[in-house]
Symmetry: D3
Subunit: 62 residues, 6 copies
């Protein structure tokens, strides 16, 4: 039943996201001993103008 | 104060989502004894190309 | 793939939570036309001293 | 390491969101004694037709 | 309807958390023009042995 | 800034969780090209009696 929610800034290619979903699933299968179909990975992409580090949006620091 | 966050793949009609929000709220009112206005339902729709089961995006398995 | 995350204050019985999980799943099956085993419900119980409405924790307003 | 996830209805200006990110970060720095760069604020904007109070979407109550 | 979910490491006093909830609510009221009772703040405290920065749990870097 | 929230049932060893945090971070570094210190992994452990698949808690199906 592990659910993995990955929040990341927009801008990655679909292949990058495919690789992340596949490899993160593999890690949980290998380390937690759960079957692949028990794992769901959700990728939430939000704009760089909606993620703030030290109080400043990434889009304002580029 | 219950908050319900429902993450689902894009593609449902607004009426489907209305029914989900209304009926899920009813369930919590009836089972938890809270008043309707204490309940907030948030629906997060993300693309089928951002939800992976067994490490593979739904959009790649259709 | 719908994931339902319900954040609620501590204090409910296990039977109340069972009824919520079962009936919320039924709503999604009936309204979204997904199969039951595609739905996962996660219940996050947090203390009334960790949920604030209008800036005041529920435990401080009881 | 505090992560702040703010889910709000669409419709605010970028300056409003800037002020929220900056001032919420300041609150955590001042009250929790963490350094600014340890804090990340994520703003999730979702449609008024995806947030339901008392089982009814905000967009249906305007 | 803004919901604020703050995930932080265990170890803060209840007064620190009270101040965070109150002041974060004030920020949203002042900057977004919503009424206080529309805002819910949820504080999720998790162990330092469950938060990893650069792949290492905080509890392993103290 | 990627944040990874992994919700899993209680019962894993701390070493299993260490391996998950380390290896998931590695995947994001390698696939997304972000630096390790930009990545935070949060592990939320909840009871098997709070995770329902097909409307039934894991603890009721063991």
């Amino acid at each position: 039943m592990p659910a993995v929610q990955i929040t990341m800034a927009e801008g990655r290619t679909q292949d990058q996201k495919r690789a992340v979903a596949r490899r993160v699933t593999d890690v949980l299968v290998e380390e937690l001993g759960v079957s692949p179909d028990a794992i769901t990975v959700y990728i939430y992409e939000i704009g760089r103008d909606h993620i703030a580090k030290s109080g400043v949006f990434l889009s304002d620091t580029a």
